[in-house]
Subunit: 472 residues, 2 copies
């Protein structure tokens, strides 16, 4: 647990990432390919995310439920583009209770199909609508190259699934989910990004439209952070999910789904971390303050514990590190690696004067205040750090967004800087596939419509502004 | 959604159970064998359980984490009695990403083996101990006969896993977990039962000692409601989980595990339900009060909404049922089936006089109070209902506990009444297996030791008092 073990972030971003994940004790490798153990320090971040987002969706009338992890293969096959999209990534159970199964079972890669089968059963009349469900669960997609949090065979997530009597109401739900994600990312993860619509090639398998929140990592690669889908009536038609409207007419339901996964923690690590390790935004940090006495003697530990009690009473997640087998320097180092937003350094001077020396993890800056002001000064400091991290993230996003008017310009930007390339473009899957092959970049999302410009690839008139980037 | 569809509980307990589960919208059947969809109303009960128990274990220093659902078959095989116990119930993944896997993966039936492999990696010194982890997750056991909640192929649960440097500390953890379960059952589920030690035959596969909380259902069958295991050093030896103690000596860790699952909701349904459907204890009820205006006119709905606001402000989970397409009688019926503890019946008289008529689900008794007293009167009423349900459950337990001094007496009691049969017994797996074959009853737990008596089966001296019963 020492920052000397951490490679330079800029020079060796991949090694930096895996070192930080391990040294900060966020996760460890599972025994089977591409699986991940989420250790308590990493899981506590996810619990904080769950608390915030769960409240947001419940405010909109979404209820939690739980659907089986086993999906009959025949379900997956019902919606054509869905099976085409997911077939290569499926994990299959063929044996149960010592016997070969009659029908192989898919471990859910996502739950549209199994949930639609229930919707079909539960809905008769327009009075049964809307149904707005969410589940917090695990899901499995067999990935070729894996990375802790960012891409794992098994991941944790929430998946929202809703059905509505009108397309308008479904669109409002799709938008509410994306607005909530954007709020969560900006106000809690302290990561800014772009909200926009996915291209046809990048749209979710089975959806009419996918909204996405795309963040820019300091490496110049984009990260798709969460998505919200307008499923139209595609699954409704595949599963015959109908209702009788007020006029007695049978209609297919309109549907959405939306998800945010533990991948977002990968974004958090990449987005804020530095050469000394993790940097956590206070609102998601498992420990917001760690109080480290210079020596673990009775006097300093007692004063530290008083400060801890004051902070906890003010609702601040605080701990004292009073281990007696580690030096003061080692401890500071350890909590730096773990990205704790604020460290209180408590020496004899602080104990005598009843003052606090509070070091910010993000800037290294030290603040001094009277012990009697601890609660309010710390709360203020945490809010400042939270806000500063967002500003920094916005700068990264903006500095890494460059305009191109031709494909040549795009290629040059990608070669020199990576980052987002902003272009006028007419969504075209064939062209996008070619660009992907030649530059490893794909469109991330459409961020503006109704403008006048020239398609960077074809030179034809275009009205939509798109971002392209390489991505995780 | 009508109570007329519910069979008589006493005469047709199995049909009663499945009808209530469906009509109260607690769960529905999944598409593959023995799986269950937990609908929002059922899941909300589980969320309430999670909230309470999560706090209890965090108070004891237990952290949440997450381990992969896929366990290599070779791990399961490392602890001999463990694999013997679980082999017949395993679900196996043989294919992933379109290819046959080199080593088949087991879907976790429980996570001792995979967690032990990590413990081995994470622990070097006594300073790394204890490690106290818990995970909220799904697990899969291939069951032959299944019933919603009570026995399902996939279930949700928490599984706690801890390692310690001394046996004493591990025993204290095992006891804390069981004490917390007993508190949760009595104070939240309002179900009383017996805490005791499992017989050798019934001990968890891989444990030295299993503690259990056994509840008695009105049908006369016992329900194992949760368990807490002293795993001794069995998994530590199988996985070589060692630490250096203060003297530099290498030692195996001492270990516990403990779990509570969605099965407990089956106990809740069986334990309190009646011929009109579900009866929920207020502390776990998703809705504690539903306010039903006699007619959905503006005046009554406005008054109902005022009452709802008052209740919610007091932290009471309250809703108004103002649907205009269902009659007053149908609504009362519906909320009775769903077991809502208190229904406010709001007619013109109540609105004019600013009074409330509050009907208890458990007794049918009606209470009247001034609208201005709503918050305190309702809070009091909910506490009374909670307490009364526990008293009733204790009566069921006590009335269904009968002493026997010979095997003949036991058989007679089981034939006439079922219930718990209390006997002096010397734990003996061979005898227990015979009794199981002949009576379908097994030992549930040992509830007293150090007494003087005569073994009901062998006639030899015995010092332990045991309960036998048929069970779910």
């Amino acid at each position: 647990m020492t920052k000397n073990l951490i490679p330079n972030k800029k020079d060796e971003p991949a090694k930096w990432y895996t070192a930080v994940v391990q040294l900060a004790e966020l996760s460890d490798y599972g025994p089977s390919k591409g699986t991940m153990i989420i250790r308590p320090y990493g899981y506590a971040i996810w619990e904080n995310v769950q608390k915030v987002f769960d409240e947001m969706i419940k405010d909109y009338g979404v209820d939690n439920a739980y659907f089986p992890i086993f999906i009959p293969m025949s379900y997956i096959e019902k919606e054509k583009s869905h099976v085409d999209g997911f077939a290569p990534e499926l994990a299959i159970v063929t044996h149960g209770g010592g016997q070969k199964l009659e029908e192989p079972l898919v471990i859910r890669p996502t739950s549209e199909t199994i949930i639609n089968a229930s919707f079909t059963k539960w809905v008769q009349s327009h009075r049964d609508l809307p149904i707005k469900l969410n589940q917090w669960s695990n899901a499995v997609r067999w990935e070729k190259r894996t990375l802790p949090f960012l891409r794992t065979t098994e991941f944790l997530w929430q998946e929202g699934h809703t059905i509505h009597s009108t397309h308008e109401e479904a669109k409002a739900m799709q938008k509410y989910a994306m607005d909530s994600y954007a709020k969560l990312y900006r106000e809690y993860y302290a990561l800014d990004g772009y909200v926009g619509r996915k291209s046809r090639m990048e749209t979710f398998a089975g959806a009419d439209e996918t909204l996405t929140f795309e963040t820019m990592m300091p490496s110049g690669k984009a990260l798709q952070s969460c998505t919200s889908h307008d499923l139209g009536q595609n699954f409704a038609k595949a599963f015959d999910t109908k209702f009788q409207d007020e006029d007695g007419e049978e209609k297919f339901v309109w549907q959405t789904s939306w998800g945010l996964s533990t991948r977002s923690i990968g974004g958090l690590i990449l987005g804020h971390g530095d050469d000394n390790g993790l940097v956590l935004p206070p609102r998601l940090a498992p420990k917001q303050v760690v109080i480290v006495p210079v020596k673990s003697n009775e006097r300093l530990v007692a004063f530290s514990n008083e400060l801890k009690a004051t902070l906890r009473q003010a609702g601040i997640r605080a701990d004292v590190d009073d281990r007696d087998d580690e030096s003061f320097g080692y401890k500071l180092n350890k909590w730096d690696v773990k990205g704790v937003p604020v460290i209180f350094k408590i020496g004899e001077k602080e104990a005598a004067d009843k003052t606090v020396t509070a070091k910010r993890r993000d800037t290294g800056e030290e603040n001094h205040f009277a012990a009697s002001d601890t609660a309010q000064e710390t709360a203020k400091l945490l809010e400042i750090i939270q806000a500063d991290l967002l500003v920094k993230s916005r700068q990264v996003r903006d500095e890494n967004t460059r305009e191109a008017s031709t494909y040549e310009e795009m290629k040059q930007i990608l070669a020199e800087h990576k980052g987002f390339v902003k272009v006028f473009w007419n969504d075209n899957s064939e062209i996008e596939a070619k660009i992907k092959e030649e530059t490893k970049a794909v469109s991330r999302c459409c961020i503006e419509t109704g403008k006048k410009g020239t398609d960077f690839y074809t030179g034809k008139p275009a009205t939509e502004v798109w971002l392209f980037a390489q991505s995780y």
